[in-house]
């Protein structure tokens, strides 16, 4: 376990070279804040009779809005995920670092899991940090009741987590299969950007990023009856299940290729 944590820390150090994190964070903060600052202005709801103090309601409204904007920051998240995955997989393979690491007494499974965890943590923690910053910036009073609606926070984290996992699954699989930094970087970004264009042009939010920002979002933040009436039957099931299934398949294929087939 100790060895595993050390490998994760080492991989995180590899990604967080100056000034990669700074540039990516600025990009993400700008994209999320510029939409949140505008969208927060329309947060309003009828509240009468005044029979319950609305602090949980105020927090959940803002967190719900920020979750939408974080899920809408798919391109920035893709960029961060692709940079992390490409650096840890194809770049290290190309420069011979993977061969060097494999000579150390670490199992390939642990090595893969450490890289996967490092790739996941960088964009995920960035999104969480940006979300908290946006919440405190928009409503400084909310520092007093940040945990008064824990389920709302958990739902927001679930959407962000699923989005990050999908992005890195696409990028890791392309990095491992191509063994080439430029090819994996460009093709991952092209696929993720293409998905953004396609999912915006079809009416049903079955493809990412609409499956996060519309499908999963409305399933978690609105009543499930509303969700199933808007997306009945297979449409709703596909909206919820397609992206996690594809993510899982990509990660399993990447794992087996990395641990069994990768020629050093």
């Amino acid at each position: 376990m100790r060895k595993f944590v050390r490998v994760v820390a080492w991989e995180l150090k590899n990604i967080a070279r100056f000034p990669i994190v700074e540039v990516l964070l600025a990009l993400l903060v700008f994209q999320v804040m510029s939409s949140t600052l505008v969208n927060a202005r329309s947060i309003s709801r009828t509240y009468f009779p005044f029979d319950e103090f609305p602090q949980g309601l105020m927090l959940s409204d803002l967190v719900r809005q920020i979750a939408t904007d974080l899920a809408g920051a798919f391109i920035s998240t893709s960029f961060i995920g692709v940079v992390s995955a490409t650096m840890l997989f194809s770049y290290q393979y190309e420069t011979g670092l993977t061969k060097f690491y494999m000579s150390l007494p670490i199992k390939r499974t642990n090595f893969f899991l450490a890289k996967l965890l490092a790739c996941f943590l960088v964009p995920f923690l960035m999104l969480v940090a940006v979300g908290c910053t946006a919440e405190l910036f928009l409503n400084p009073v909310s520092v007093l009741f940040l945990f008064s609606a824990p389920m709302v926070l958990a739902r927001a984290l679930l959407i962000i987590g699923e989005m990050v996992l999908f992005v890195i699954a696409v990028s890791i699989s392309l990095s491992i299969l191509s063994h080439n930094t430029a090819v994996s970087f460009i093709s991952s970004l092209a696929i993720l950007y293409g998905l953004t264009l396609v999912s915006g042009s079809i009416g049903v939010p079955i493809l990412p990023p609409a499956s996060f920002s519309q499908g999963l979002w409305s399933f978690l933040f609105y009543s499930q009856r509303d969700f199933w009436s808007t997306y009945p039957g297979w449409t709703g099931a596909g909206t919820l299940a397609l992206t996690p299934t594809v993510t899982l398949i990509l990660l399993v294929v990447s794992y087996f290729y990395f641990s069994r087939r990768l020629n050093l």
Partner: protein, 177 residues
């Protein structure tokens, strides 16, 4: 004590990067006006309550009611809401509504506010409300964005200077040895 100067310097630079992005986002996105309108019915001696997120900028509330209508429009901030919940009616601002009225106000800080229109009229009325956020830069958002940049800069400078001094002292003591 081994102080991780490099890590602290990175934190300062990250703060500067995030602050610059916030400043840019504030300048790019908050200058534009915004308006909303709706209609409903207000019962005799009834109330119409609305919780709304407001920034520090000029707002205009337009209320269209019959000419002989009388009532009041109150705005409660976070503390005001807490007090109201405990039975104390202490709004941050109160406006008299005698017939169709236009009210201008600037909230004192950004956050959630409760806006209540109370009717003192003996009949049910058709109520039309328009809410306009006028154009203009939000000074408090700009100030807070700049504060993050400056605090990152000051933090980086302090850590950078302290790191340099520590390094020089270590080199000097090594030379003396």
């Amino acid at each position: 004590m081994n102080i991780p100067f490099k890590l602290l310097l990175r934190i300062g630079i990250l703060l500067m990067a995030a602050g610059s992005a916030i400043l840019g986002a504030v300048l790019m996105s908050t200058r534009f006006p915004y308006s909303e309108s709706g209609s409903s019915q207000l019962a005799a001696y009834g109330k119409d309550g609305n919780i709304r997120y407001l920034n520090v900028r000029n707002y205009e509330e337009r209320i269209l009611v019959p000419m002989d209508f009388t009532g009041s429009f109150s705005i409660y901030d976070y503390e005001g809401m807490r007090k109201l919940w405990n039975g104390l009616n202490e709004p941050q601002m109160v406006f008299a509504v005698d017939g169709p009225t236009v009210m201008d106000f600037i909230p004192s800080y950004r956050g959630f506010y409760l806006l209540i229109l109370r009717s003192e009229y003996s009949e049910m009325v058709n109520l039309e409300q328009s809410f306009v956020a006028k154009s203009g830069v939000e000074p408090d958002s700009l100030r807070d964005g700049a504060l993050v940049v400056v605090s990152g800069l000051v933090f980086s400078l302090i850590v950078g200077v302290a790191g340099k001094i520590t390094q020089q002292r270590a080199q000097r003591s090594e030379r003396l040895r």
